[in-house]
Symmetry: C2
């Protein structure tokens, strides 16, 4: 054996001992955590970190290999390895583990130097990994991606989606590693949920190699082989939960239970390492939050925005979206980093086919695999790539709510363009009528929702969004809508219009009351308000494009008129009306709020008929206003 | 060939022709729908319906075979077959398809006689199917279950979860059928998302047999064989999209596009059937909604409720839940239909291990497959089985939001008991701290959320819930909590307490303001309010166990005190505070609302420290009240 390999093996073995000590110490000190899986995966994790391209002093080095930990609860292992590699002082991690205010949380977070992706809810890491792997190709910076996963985790269906994507797009730089310790919380994986992991992966076209997950020379050779395959490869690592401490080995209990002090002492003796609990306890008590390093979430896209398109006749917002993004692709062909569009078998409906023709190398057909696509899109978007995913509302937020939550936690920059919102969807019925898009996003602290009023505003919004960091939902219905016009007949959102997030547009003035509208119903609302004007009722009319963040000054002004009608093609529970209610009640603004929207699961029907059914058509809006102003 | 088989084949062939006519007529008449997949699956669907145990005159016959259609957009095929079988007048389906007010909606719904499960968003039907299959065993009523799926649909990961469950539990009465027409919206499935469907299914232990999906004798033989295998079996049916009409065959366009009148005429000529569009158009115009048959959603459980348990010392709600359900299992061992508990590898944490010991045959370990478990649980629960699924909040609602939405649409009776809600979860951090449970359920029109205040109320609630139909979330934290006591020191929720949904409990009277509390913070709130009393500030204190449905009279009374503090271990966006805001604003109640809760993603830490961080501890609550009452 070459001298450097022997040296490498010795180094890793020594690190493994230190890491086990760190894992056990930090979890015992914290009083909670997951030592068992941390100890079964630590050997192979150290082998990976000792043989990848990376620089702990430069955690953002562009050509660094990416290591994604899907089963984020093995944070003790991750922090031990990263500390030993020099990303930070290991003593900090040991002392601060799970302590409020520390970056060393219970599940790994991106803000820890060396952690590429925050994780916790299982099944999502491989999707993120494919995003990083694809970004390597798109950014023309070669690097490898390693994704660590648990074996119980393999029960999650989303993983198969990520596998298929990797194979379709011939990702030759991704290696998955499963910590096959054959235990999960409730016992043996073979009893809890029998599964042929190898066959599952092979059935999706991955190469599978098995290794003894504690044999360092074997692991090193296996890693070399895996890298050389240049095809999606799984390393199935046979491991032992709690490996290294006799009374922990193969004991499912230690998946999520920590050692007592006495047990820790025994364990460390077995490992041949010192007991330093006192030292760390002291450090822990002295910890003051606030000196945390800031991880770089910076994303400053600088794309050309092209020339705005003007719509003069009835047009659907989704076509305007499609034209705008295709146009942006055209004017940015020379851009350093691409604009990417992801699709889940709906390009004809979400209108991204034109983009796919202009920019075929940046359009990715992900099939009917929304959960995978969502997370992969999030990962892509933190690699300097402005990433758009367009889908129906039910698929792009309802079906993937928790995936978007993970993207939120990861501070990604995914632009999810949701078409087919509301009962405007029509005859496809309730499983396809997305009426909770605002309400769901309300829970995602970092998300912004933008609802364009017409094709013109859609075009401006997309050209505004192209240079924005952060996660956005842009939502629109299905139908062609009139373009909004001012009272003088000119376009509301003409060439000179600039989109401002958080500011509603006052379309009509009036003092008899106020109507706040979000989304597709706006044209009918304009007609209603204009008709009422002719009858001597003057309502103020505001178009709200940012229903999660209302302008307080505007709300106060409108509340002053005594009554506010909220109008939305959305559930009355949780949408614009709820935002207004929140603003009124928390600011002691005494106005009557009348919420007009959907109050039960909708049904099949023509969009116009459904609008009447829901009280959203012009005549119904007029009648409702009159009823309350009588 | 036996005479009756020849007759059967002839009959099916004739029906197939009529069905194709019906499919094309109804979709053209409606102007929308999915004819292509309807025509590829119609032959095998007719073969199934002609050879299963069922009685169209008795759609609820207990021992009927169940047919589940996972890809609900092939509603034209489903309605054609059911009409031909005699479940209703086929002319009604043709004339009314997708017409507002008709039961024949764009995607199939349970309220159509013969439809067992509403569907629309792909990937979920096999999970439902396993629920029906399992119910057969649990109810001791033998029947078979057939699950129709699309081939593009196979890209969804959830299907693999359902497969594994079926094999683990040796479901010998389930047959899956994939309509392998090799096309999806964006083209060939092999291009859109390459996948080895056969290998995928075999890797999860299913038997796979292939058949020509348009060769009726072959299909009939295959069905007989599949039934005889008595193991989970997939019939991979090679079909042709648009089969039966030359210009439709193998044309992906017709997945979701309908024929023009001219094309319809050609098509019907090819099929050798009459063009009756005018007739149906007339029927359509004469349709008056309202005479729809009511499908039986009735579920009237009658379990014994046992004797309430009384808690006198600090206790965690989840242990009280676990003890209650175990007790209910014990006193109902002689019940006709079982009480079932589903687990996703968390029994030790969600405290259902005792139930598992008492009632092992009714406890199902589903592994880390939450989306599958959710839908399967929903299906089980409409088979007369009171079904509980207990999981962490993030898994039981956030991760499965759209699955619960499907359960809502299906009027199921699933009782989802969510433990580990709130920052009370502690050091596991944001991916495990569920702070959106009320907000998410707000969108599910049929769902009720119950948040018990302490172990005593938990016990009563579970014993109340055992005999309730409908979908519920019951939510609780992780920690031990003080049992609530009245001012005189006796228990708030003693033996004589009866739970009433929708009614908040007035714990303290006062006129200086009102505090409404939901969930885990209540004990701290009681302490705060009692401390304030000693300082001369008298707050009314209400415990809200049903945050989605507030009592208006109570809200009016509290609003009359001028200021309401809402307190919850939940996001301030969308929880109790939002319910109160909605109630205040829509009822013109002018009170100041101060929302106390979580306003950003939480972090790791001890639960008590996190409560202080979030302003939910006793001292902070006192300070906040004083600040606003100053």
């Amino acid at each position: 054996m070459p001298a450097n390999t022997q040296e490498l093996i010795s180094r890793i073995s020594a690190q493994a001992k230190q890491a086990r000590k760190a894992i056990l110490t930090m979890t015992t000190l914290a009083g909670s955590g997951h030592p068992g899986g941390s100890m079964s995966s630590i050997d192979i994790m150290l082998c990976v970190y000792n043989t990848i391209e990376h620089n702990p002093a430069q955690p953002q080095m562009p050509n660094r290999d990416r290591v994604i930990i899907s089963n984020g609860h093995i944070s003790p292992a991750v922090f031990s390895v990263l500390g030993l590699m020099g990303y930070f002082d290991l003593n900090d991690a040991i002392a601060q583990y799970r302590l409020m205010g520390s970056i060393f949380e219970g599940h790994i977070e991106r803000r820890v130097p060396g952690v590429e992706w925050s994780s916790g809810n299982l099944g999502q890491g491989l999707s993120a990994g494919t995003g990083f792997a694809l970004a390597s190709r798109l950014n023309k910076i070669p690097y490898n991606v390693y994704v660590f996963m648990g074996d119980g985790e393999q029960q999650k269906g989303q993983i198969s989606e990520a596998r298929r994507f990797a194979v379709k797009y011939c990702l030759d730089n991704i290696i998955a590693i499963v910590d096959y310790n054959e235990l999960q919380i409730s016992g043996s994986i073979h009893n809890v949920m029998p599964q042929n992991i190898r066959k599952n992966w092979e059935s999706d076209g991955w190469k599978v190699i098995e290794v003894n997950g504690h044999d360092i020379p074997q692991i090193l050779t296996t890693l070399d082989n895996a890298r050389a395959f240049k095809q999606p490869t799984l390393i199935l690592a046979h491991t032992v939960m709690g490996k290294g401490v006799s009374f922990m080995e193969n004991n499912a209990k230690y998946h999520g239970s920590v050692l007592s002090e006495t047990q820790l002492e025994s364990a460390l003796k077995e490992l041949g390492t010192e007991m330093e609990l006192k030292k760390y306890r002291k450090l822990r008590s002295e910890f003051k939050p606030g000196n945390n390093p800031q991880n770089g979430y910076l994303f400053e896209p600088e794309y050309k925005i092209g020339k705005p398109l003007r719509y003069q006749t009835d047009s659907d917002c989704r076509s305007a979206w499609g034209k705008a993004i295709a146009d942006l692709a055209k004017v940015n062909t020379a851009a350093e980093t691409p604009i990417v569009v992801l699709d889940c078998d709906l390009a004809t409906s979400v209108k991204t086919e034109e983009f796919a023709q202009v920019s075929p190398q940046n359009f990715f057909q992900c099939g009917i695999m929304e959960q995978h696509t969502c997370v992969m899109g999030g990962a892509l978007s933190i690699c300097g790539i402005q990433t758009f995913w367009s889908d129906f509302g039910v698929f792009g937020i309802a079906e993937v709510y928790n995936n978007q939550r993970l993207n939120d936690i990861n501070h990604t920059n995914l632009k999810t363009v949701l078409t087919h919102t509301g009962i405007d969807v029509g005859a496809d019925g309730k499983t396809h009528q997305c009426i909770d898009y605002i309400s769901l996003a309300r829970n995602l602290f970092g998300f912004r929702v933008i609802c364009p009023a017409d094709a013109n505003q859609t075009d401006r919004i997309i050209r505004w969004l192209i240079n924005k960091p952060g996660n956005y939902l842009v939502t629109m219905g299905r139908s062609k809508l009139p373009v909004l016009k001012k009272m003088d007949g000119t376009l509301q959102y003409d060439f000179d219009y600039s989109f401002v997030y958080g500011k509603a547009d006052v379309l009509r003035d009036g003092n008899d009351g106020s109507m706040w509208v979000c989304g597709t119903p706006i044209a009918k609302a304009v007609k209603a308000v204009d008709t009422l004007r002719e009858e001597g009722i003057f309502l103020e009319l505001l178009y709200v494009s940012s229903p999660l963040h209302l302008d307080l000054a505007q709300l106060k002004a409108s509340a002053g008129k005594g009554i506010i009608f909220s109008v939305e093609d959305h559930s009355v529970n949780g949408g614009l009306g709820t935002s207004i209610a929140d603003g009124l009640a928390t600011n002691s603004l005494c106005a009557k709020l009348v919420k007009i929207g959907i109050n039960q699961y909708p049904i099949s029907g023509e969009a116009n008929e459904l609008y009447h059914w829901a009280g959203l058509d012009t005549a119904s809006l007029i009648a409702t206003v009159k009823k309350f102003l009588a």
